[in-house]
């Protein structure tokens, strides 16, 4: 009798992660096709429509890019913390905090000229997100409180704060009692790039680029890698872990906050409860699939943007939008499942006989 056993490879398969990602995509499309057929739809035509509406022409691209902006920034936020072995599960709350920060600047600066107001809003967004991350950052750096728990719990607090603001002090007097803030002033909207794509695309691209360069080429990024690889090695080399934890979590919060600010001034006309749309949680998936690399974050965010935009487009032909959520989940499952084989190979082990030296590669 033989049984399969996972054996760790000496080194990961080169280029394995993009391959695993592609496998995940194929798995997701196949499973999705089965689900679509079960629901009485023609999978190929649904997929074709999804593709056309997300990547088919420049208008479709503009929608996908807009979607990729908050996904990419949230993914970057998670990845920056993750490169040091910290898990910021609070990007969702930090996005809300960032949106609140930007909305507050828009309230007090409603008469400012456009460039000044927009800069103020984005700074407000970064500060808002960083402020929400401050508590977990200090608690982790000072007394070692697990940041996963604290950042996650603050999501709820940020949401309640936002609900209180839009039901209470920030409610639009002309909204007939709907929980809405007043419309943003015209000059508070980010300028358009092409189609419906706004300048947030450039902002997100630039931020991801800066972090990518900082992480791979600077002494700061080097220290971050050391600290992420082994805390003891960092201590040995004289790198202050406390300071690194603090700066990294604040930066992570700030980047997520920026996503909220860009989303508010780019695609929304006012602050609402649904301003984030789960981007913070999707960001965790984006970062995980990108193996916490900024360049990977950009690619994965773009793909997830396309899947989400495509998913919305098929509602018109009667397919529930949750199809896109299911597809995203299966991409994650498939890619993580395939990712195992990047680091492990399968061997069949003969039972009852010592297995050293025999067994077949069957990846």
């Amino acid at each position: 009798m033989r049984r399969p056993v996972l054996v760790r490879r000496d080194r990961p398969v080169r280029g394995g992660q993009p391959l695993a990602f592609a496998v995940g995509l194929v798995v997701a499309l196949l499973v999705g096709a089965v689900l679509l057929m079960a629901a009485g739809h023609e999978p190929m035509s649904v997929y074709q429509r999804m593709f056309e509406k997300s990547l088919g022409d420049s208008n479709a691209w503009s929608l996908t890019l807009n979607r990729a902006v908050p996904l990419g920034l949230a993914g970057l936020a998670v990845a920056v913390a993750g490169s040091m072995g910290l898990w910021n599960i609070g990007a969702e709350g930090q996005i809300l905090a960032g949106a609140m920060g930007a909305a507050w600047v828009a309230r007090i600066g409603g008469t400012w000229p456009g460039p000044m107001l927009l800069t103020g809003m984005l700074v407000g967004a970064i500060v808002g997100g960083a402020l929400l991350a401050l508590v977990p950052a200090v608690a982790r750096a000072r007394i070692g409180v697990n940041e996963i728990i604290t950042t996650l719990m603050l999501n709820e607090i940020a949401l309640r704060l936002l609900q209180w603001l839009i039901h209470g002090p920030w409610k639009d007097p002309a909204s007939f009692n709907f929980p809405l803030t007043p419309m943003l002033p015209d000059q508070a909207h980010l300028p358009m790039l092409f189609g419906r794509a706004h300048y947030g695309v450039l902002i997100a691209g630039a931020v991801i680029l800066v972090f990518g360069v900082a992480a791979s080429r600077t002494a700061w990024g080097y220290e971050l890698r050391i600290a992420g690889s082994s805390a003891d090695t960092a201590r040995y080399a004289g790198i202050s872990l406390k300071r690194k934890i603090l700066t990294v979590l604040l930066l992570s919060g700030g980047v997520a906050g920026l996503a909220g600010g860009v989303e508010l001034s780019g695609t929304a006309d006012r602050l609402t409860e649904g301003i984030s749309n789960g981007f913070g949680y999707a960001g965790i998936i984006v970062a995980a699939l990108a193996l916490l690399r900024p360049s990977g974050v950009a690619v994965v965010a773009l793909l997830f943007g396309a899947v989400q935009v495509g998913g919305q487009s098929i509602q018109i032909i009667g397919v529930p939008a949750s199809v896109s959520t299911i597809l995203q989940a299966f991409i994650l499952f498939g890619a993580i499942g395939a990712g195992v084989f990047v680091r492990y190979s399968v061997r069949l082990i003969q039972m009852g006989v010592d297995a050293s030296g025999e067994g077949e590669e069957a990846t």
């Binding site: 600077t218 890698r225 050391i226 080399a237 039972m351």
Partner: protein, 505 residues
Amino acid sequence: MTQTAAVELVDIWKRFPGVVANAGAHLRIDRGTVHAVLGENGAGKSTLMNVLSGVYRPDEGEVRLDGVLHRFHTPADALTAGIGMVHQEFRLVPSFTVAENVVLGAAERILRRQDVEARVDELARRFGLATEPDRPVWQLSMGERQRVEILKALWRDARILILDEPTAVLTPNEANELGGVLRHMADDGRSVIFISHKLHEVTGFCDVATVLRGGETVAASLPVAGTDAATLAGLMVGSTSLAGERPPARAPGEVRLAVSGLCALGDRGLPAVHDINLEVRSGEIVGIAGVAGNGQRELVQVLAGLRSATDGTVDLGGKDVTTDPPRRRFGSGLCYIPEDRLGVGLAPRLSVVENAVLRSYAQHRRGPFLLEASMTAHCQDLVDRFGVRTGPLGDPVAGLSGGNLQRLLVGRELGSGPGVVVAAQPTRGLDVQGVKAIQDLLVAERDTGTAVLLISEDLDELLTLSDRLLVMHQGRILAEFDPRNSERSIIGEAMAGHLPEEGAA
């Protein structure tokens, strides 16, 4: 063969990349005995026990239980065959009760809480393991948690119990109680394997002892009754007289490292280093000998700035560095070769280049940016000078063999031209060539006038390399020896805590 042994390990070989952990080890354990397995760190005890408990498969050799040949593929196979292991790190669910932990994974389908608790209680009483079956584990002391681990093994009716350094987490009183429990189990016809390097416990609790050294069995089933601690210590550290040529000594120069009245706490907040005074001069190697766990590790960490001193001072080239962080000490000329190569001295997932510049990356920057070319050149220089065999320099350092990892680490530290080297277990786990290479590097460094403090558990190494030899026991420096004309049996006694008459401290 007069009586079939409960356990027989015959000619066990286990090789890991760059290391032979077991080289033909033997072990024979009779029913109803408490059997000590002794050896220094790296002697192959853990590997041998992992072979017995099914964690590792041996490259060669046989595992026999009651004379029957067994081949374990998983720890579960060994458990089924009656082998229970109590690991150093407990594997308990903190929020479960004692009884729940004991029966976890080994219970009938339907359980009544009171029944299970009564049965666990009964089992515990039978073996003198005082415990409260309905208490959650998180409320228990380390000693109580260990009793739960032992109960788990007994519940599964283990006939052979392996305890891996069981007293490391216990207070002296708890350790004595454990001794009584082990006796109970032996009297019940079970066999207990007691892994330790605390000699007084071995002489106190155990019937027979097997000593491993360098992966081989150097003394099999020695009756403890007729053996004293010093003999065991001598066997552990080896008895070959002067394994290597002593390099010619130099006349030592000025004091480079001076430690006075140094005290520090261990990981559990108990005093681990007491009132240490020592000096290391330019051009000499001072060795520190001692059985593992006698404060050497903590002393070294205090010197490196990774653990704070509770009292006393550390002077580096005439400058008080007692409160300086690690980087400033390095800047003052202290380099440190830590005991844990991967994980402290080197970051395993980062590349060879990234690890090579760990101490010097600040010199390879322009503004905020690191200069890739300059770092690679520095790394290539180290690799060439210290003969590190590597693949591409951009590959993770974890792919290097043990000997090459250590060459890279030692090269990086020595390459900075330090005034003082603190080397903790620099050759542990290396193969013969690797050991020789590292020892030669340390001697060459001394010959350039560097002060070297060498901490090792290998007495041969210390006798060969040191110009002066200090023995540490229970956090204190117990004695100083001249390695050129000291008998190893006397040093062995000092390591076991017996003060020699003529040795001056």
